[in-house]
């Protein structure tokens, strides 16, 4: 009778085992024969000492296969990301998914005016407090580059605002070499010291190779510094297909993987066993407008594919998903974000960064964030799957209710409906037509605005203990001082 083509519960898999092998072999070949450029003398020296073939003139590193394999075995396959209050810790492993807002937007969509503008510190504080309240956005990110502090310290200041306004763990990144050191100091204050932070990481730092096949000094140094302190580093190759990567999906996956592996090797050589996340933010390059498309279906396919390669290596994975190329919170915005959020969950990507973001990766919107939160909730429900056991099969119940009966007042219904059905907030309209009309025929955006306002009015994030707050303020002040900026 049974003729199953698969044994376990099916999930999304775009690549066959053979495809993965081919991509892996291709990347190994790339690393061994072509290599990557690394604009960092310390990295070059280290790689040279540890057996890579380094051409110091062209700054090219060719990595032998055995070295890549050794390093792959050293990287942990589970990362526990800690929250300040211990209530929002996240395990990054296997098929577990953690959503967090898209990071470092240059613009903010002001819901009062409907205009795009540069973000202010208070916008970021609101976004962080909102995220703190959102159930399915389980981690924070330094999501806005605020314009009311000097640019030189903007990276540190973002983290300062996040740490003050939410206990959730943070996905962040530095814009400079010193930036990372200052940011680490702030995290140490919250964690209770350098050793504590290494033992209980509360933040992940993103670091991006420069496609194709290049590492800038800042990014490679950020990676080295993370590794030294055992801070989880999210390595994020970001080829633009057809511009800074082959236009073919398979080709760009080979390049993506080679760029990732070169970073992984560097990190593991600096400090064996340091946590590394297989990440990425690939985009498809729009051949008409020259824009880097985050909402393209191929962009989503890339994330789902390379995360399979990451899982093949047994590593935690990450991808930018849930962003939209739309300029306002409209249908395009909802559909592009929604599809990606669902696909990412089905692919079992561990860290999914993107909710709230639109206008490619340039803008954040509070309204979009609460809408995406709902989609994230739906996606998490989806991957929870269909529970099949005696109780859920409910044969006894059907015997009891019988043909023509009603289930609504049954204890079984009462017991199970919350577990089986995802309950969205009032943001999602599920009313019958006349009620909706009588209540003002509100659009999703209008409901989202009300929802945002309500949360921001009511929600109180777990405050920082006084001593930590004092130390953090003092640290921020001394950072500003060292840049000759008065607080």
């Amino acid at each position: 009778m049974p003729r199953f083509s698969h044994s376990k519960r099916p999930r999304l898999r775009l690549l066959s085992e053979e495809d993965i092998e081919k991509i892996h072999v291709g990347s190994m070949k790339l690393l061994e024969e072509i290599g990557v450029q690394m604009h960092n003398d310390r990295a070059l020296k280290l790689l040279n000492d540890k057996g890579a073939e380094v051409d110091f003139k062209t700054r090219t590193v060719r990595v032998p296969q055995h070295l890549v394999k050794e390093c792959l075995l050293k990287a942990p396959s589970t990362i526990r990301l800690y929250s300040r209050d211990g209530k929002h810790d996240r395990l990054l492993e296997r098929e577990r998914v953690t959503y967090n807002p898209g990071s470092s937007a240059l613009f903010f969509l002001d819901s009062e005016t409907g205009e795009l503008r540069r973000p202010l510190s208070r916008d970021l504080a609101r976004l962080v407090r909102l995220t703190d309240a959102l159930e399915y956005i389980q981690a924070q990110s330094t999501s806005l580059v605020v314009s009311d502090v000097p640019e030189e310290v903007a990276d540190r200041y973002r983290l300062f605002i996040v740490l003050k306004n939410s206990p959730k763990a943070v996905i962040t990144g530095a814009f400079s070499i010193d930036g990372l050191h200052d940011m680490k100091k702030m995290l140490e204050i919250v964690a209770g010291g350098e050793k504590e932070l290494a033992r209980k990481p509360m933040a992940i730092f993103d670091t991006c190779p420069s496609a194709p096949l290049k590492w800038s000094e800042i990014n490679s140094q950020n990676l080295i510094d993370c590794a030294k302190s055992r801070i989880p580093a999210e390595i994020i190759p970001m080829p633009q297909l057809g511009a800074t990567g082959p236009v073919t999906l398979a080709g760009s996956l080979v390049q993506h993987n080679a760029e990732f592996l070169s970073g992984l090797v560097l990190a593991q050589l600096v400090n064996p066993g340091t946590p590394v996340i297989y990440g990425g933010s690939p985009t498809t390059f729009d051949m008409r407008h020259g824009t880097a498309r985050l909402g393209a279906i191929e962009t989503m396919m890339l994330g789902c594919s390379y995360s399979q390669v990451g899982k093949y290596y047994g590593l935690p994975t990450h991808m930018y998903l849930g962003l939209s190329d739309a300029k306002i919170v409209d249908t395009q915005c909802g559909l592009e974000s929604g599809i990606a959020i669902v696909l990412g969950a089905l692919a079992g990507i561990n860290v999914i960064s993107g909710p709230g973001m639109l206008n490619f990766e340039n803008c954040q919107s509070l309204e979009k964030l609460v809408i995406d939160n709902t989609t994230c909730g739906m996606a998490l429900r989806l991957i929870d799957g269909v529970r099949v056991d005696d109780e859920t099969l409910a044969i006894d119940l059907m015997r009891k209710v019988g043909p023509g009966g009603v289930y609504l007042s049954e204890k079984h219904t009462l017991e199970w409906f919350r577990k089986e059905q995802f309950m969205p907030s009032a943001l999602i309209d599920r009313k019958e037509w006349r009620t909706w009309k009588n209540e003002g025929s509100k659009s999703t955006l209008q409901r989202a605005k009300e929802h945002v306002a309500k949360i921001l009015k009511e929600h109180q994030p777990e405050p920082l203990p006084d001593d930590i707050r004092r130390d953090l303020d003092a640290a921020a002040e001394s950072i500003l001082k060292s840049h000759k900026i008065s607080a």
Partner: protein
């Protein structure tokens, strides 16, 4: 006779054949075709046809970029021959362009370069991560009509100001127009740092460049 050679240059560009453009350029020179005519009526005409198709959304960026590449490569053959002939090239002007120090975002800047080429400007591309000193040294060497700077990050766009100040110190500011672009920049920022213009995209870059050099909005 000369017409055939010129036409094959146009065709090479229109058919996106880089190698054909190069060999057509060589053949044209051997046959004694005026290099200025070969560029103006051959290559530039082809690129204009391609540009129009792009504007009409018939073709996409890869076609445009390869056509510009074909023109560029053929130009390297034809240009050295121009010095010998007496006529001057009639380009819309010389634009020197580069991505600012600390910033390696390349694509937008290159697209701007390509569109300016299509529009009839002579473009000198300095690449990315161009230091303030290099911008200034190159202005002396290349003597452009316009300096275009690109920055994609809020941190790196600050350096644009240093270039403009440097130009002023060296007494070069009045000799060139300065145009800026890239996601974090704006016309307000252009004003603040004393640049002459700003463009949101490659099409605007062309418009701004034309306006600054007192040329008509549309090319007839």
């Amino acid at each position: 006779m000369g017409n055939d050679f010129i036409q094959s240059l146009t065709e090479a560009v229109v058919n996106y054949e880089v190698e054909d453009a190069v060999s057509a350029a060589k053949r044209a020179l051997e046959a004694g075709v005026d290099p200025v005519a070969a560029i103006e009526e051959g290559l530039a005409k082809g690129v204009r046809i391609v540009g129009d198709k792009f504007g009409a959304e018939e073709i996409f960026l890869p076609e445009l970029m390869v056509a510009v590449e074909a023109m560029k490569q053929a130009m390297t053959i034809l240009k050295p021959a121009i010095n010998k002939s007496s006529r001057v090239e009639k380009s819309l002007g010389r634009v020197m362009i580069g991505t600012i120090e600390g910033d390696i975002h390349d694509i937008g800047k290159s697209m701007v370069g390509a569109m300016l080429t299509v529009a009839g400007f002579e473009v000198v591309d300095l690449g990315t991560d161009v230091s303030v000193e290099r911008f200034i040294a190159k202005v002396k060497e290349v003597e452009p009509d316009i300096v275009g700077m690109s920055a994609l990050m809020t941190t790196t766009m600050l350096r644009m100001k240093d270039v403009i100040e440097g130009l002023r110190k060296e007494g070069l500011r009045e000799k060139v127009k300065v145009v800026i672009g890239g996601v974090p920049t704006s016309s307000e920022w252009a004003k603040e740092i004393g640049a002459d213009g700003h463009g949101w995209n490659a099409m605007e870059a062309v418009k701004v460049a034309k306006r600054l050099l007192h040329q008509p909005e549309e090319r007839s």
